[in-house]
């Protein structure tokens, strides 16, 4: 559809301007981290006798290098990711179908939701003694705790998402002749997907929080074990902070992966509803036909 060039058309030298802007956008968050490291280092070097309160940044970098050299880095990271994967995947497999069923059959949901609501605010760490009683000290206990930590938020997200599906969409699906399994696949599932992805992202964050704590008690590998072991074995606080940095970096990476799912166009609608019906106003030309906004 032909339409006049927008008034705020890009400047003739739009390309370099845009790329330098994206460079700035990438540098600003990094500069915050750089300043933090600088302040950290300067404070410790000025601190004199109190400089043992925290290892210097360079010592942490050296500790990470040491871990990598001895092969511990990969071993601990893999051990933690392994537990998170199993606990989290099990929670997804159990929690999402359970939540969908509870959301769909409102009576059942009303009976079971209070149980979930009571269990949810209990920190998964409170289950550690119970887990050890049931599964002993070891991987299964850690995986179980991660499973519990992710299960309740996932189930409740799925349940509430299904309850929130618009009646018109369900009715439209039924009108086109869909019965339960097809309705689930072609209407309910795509309708709840945006919320589901947010729930998946948040519960993966919880799983990653919980694994560290679980590893401090139940097992002898993983980043949580690395931290507690470095302190117990020889007050190696450079290794403690190295473990913390690794946890943070991997946490961001996991979150970024989950966030990238939100950018798919088939779910993007779910995140823009609050921004209102902007195209309705701006996108209609005089003939009543609308133009797609860029």
């Amino acid at each position: 559809m032909a339409r006049p060039a927008p008034i705020d058309s890009p400047p003739p030298h739009g390309r370099p301007a845009r790329s330098s802007r994206s460079l700035v956008r990438a540098l600003v968050p990094l500069s915050g981290i750089a300043v933090l490291i600088l302040v950290w280092d300067v404070a410790l070097s000025l601190g004199g006798g109190r400089s043992q309160l925290l290892p210097r940044p360079f010592a942490v970098v050296r500790a990470i290098a040491e871990l990598a050299q001895k092969g511990f880095l990969l071993k601990h990271v893999v051990a933690s990711l392994f537990r998170v994967t199993w606990g989290y995947v099990a929670a997804v497999i159990v929690g999402i179908p359970l939540g969908v069923v509870l959301g769909w059959y409102r009576r059942g949901g009303m009976a079971i939701a209070p149980i979930l609501e009571i269990l949810r605010p209990i920190s998964p760490l409170a289950w550690i003694p119970v887990a050890i009683l049931w599964f002993g000290v070891g991987d299964v206990s850690a995986v179980f705790i991660i499973f519990l930590g992710s299960l309740f938020p996932l189930t409740l997200t799925a349940m509430n998402a299904v309850r929130g599906v618009e009646v018109v969409h369900v009715n439209a699906g039924r009108n086109f002749g869909l019965r339960a399994p097809e309705l689930l696949r072609r209407v309910i599932y795509p309708a709840i997907l945006p919320q589901l992805i947010v729930g998946l992202r948040l519960s993966l964050g919880i799983a990653w929080l919980v694994v560290v704590a679980a590893e401090m008690i139940a097992v002898s590998s993983g980043l949580g074990f690395l931290i507690i072991d470095a302190r117990n074995a020889g007050n190696r606080y450079d290794l403690v902070v190295a473990g913390m940095v690794l946890i943070g970096v991997i946490g961001i990476a996991l979150d970024a992966i989950m966030r990238s799912l939100e950018r798919s166009k088939a779910v993007a609608w779910g995140y823009t509803i609050l921004e209102g019906e902007q195209p309705d106003v701006a996108g209609v030309d005089a003939a009543g036909r609308a133009t797609v906004l860029p």
Partner: protein, 254 residues
């Protein structure tokens, strides 16, 4: 409209009441109506008169409290792909593109036939170039056209339209009305059209069924023998409009 066409939708002594907190709210009372094949009937009434409820019962989404609805002589028990309900533009699936929406009801067809049908209805509602757009990128009028196209693509006998243009601005609404008439004349569907807009019913309908306020019952059925396209300033059109205004008891001046 030929007066002796076959009866498509047969509504007999239909009543509906809702029960909330021990109270009974009577919504519809003793509705009798026959809609002929290929006819465009507007159901006109004030807000809350039960006209949407009537359409939902006829569509098979709600059970009646008493009375019968039959289509082609068979009682209606559930929604059916031969009779598609067009909601306001809210009924479009936001997770599907224009193409995905229009092809929603014909997923059982072979791919090439399905693509051809989608292309046909994209053209019919004037959405060429927007096949891969998502509903959130479209205006209200375009979403409404997607819904109409999605309904037509399954080649239904009957269309139920529940205030389909209510949420649109007045210019788009006029455009959509003439598009609906154009589509109705090419595709020859039976259409039940619910509206609270007197002008809209006078512009579109073969017959106008005027409902009373709640509990809704039929006050009058007006045959409209004006040919399309209708001249909105002709004395006959104005007389028709005024007689319905009077029927509803509204003043002519504001």
């Amino acid at each position: 409209m030929t007066g002796n066409a076959e009866v498509k939708v047969h509504i007999q002594d239909l009543s509906k009441a809702f029960h909330t907190n021990g109270h009974e709210i009577r919504v519809l009372e003793h509705i009798d109506l026959d809609v002929r094949e290929g006819e465009l009937v507007c159901i006109l009434g004030p807000s809350g008169c039960g006209k949407s409820t009537l359409l939902n019962i006829v569509g098979g989404f709600l059970p009646a409290s008493s009375g019968d609805v039959a289509i082609d002589g068979l009682p209606v028990r559930r929604p059916d792909p031969r009779r598609i309900f067009v909601f306001q533009e809210r009924g479009v699936f936001p997770w599907l593109t224009v193409e995905g929406n229009i092809g929603f009801g014909i997923s059982g067809l072979p791919a090439t036939e399905r693509a051809a049908r989608i292309a046909h209805y994209v053209r019919l509602v004037g959405l060429e170039g927007f096949e891969n757009a998502y509903p959130q990128e479209l205006s209200g009028g375009m979403k409404q056209r997607v819904e109409v196209a999605r309904a037509l693509a399954v080649n239904p006998d009957v269309l139920y339209l529940d205030e389909p243009f209510g949420a649109l601005d007045s210019i788009t609404r006029l455009v959509m009305r003439s598009e609906l008439l154009r589509i109705w004349q090419t595709e020859r569907k039976t259409i039940l059209f619910v509206t609270h807009d007197i002008e809209e019913s006078c512009q579109l309908a073969d017959r106008i069924v005027v409902l009373s306020a709640r509990p809704g019952s039929i006050r009058r059925v007006v045959e409209v023998d004006l040919p399309h396209p209708r001249d909105l300033s002709s004395p006959r059109y104005l007389a028709l409009r005024d007689s319905i205004l009077e029927e509803i008891g509204l003043a002519h001046r504001i």
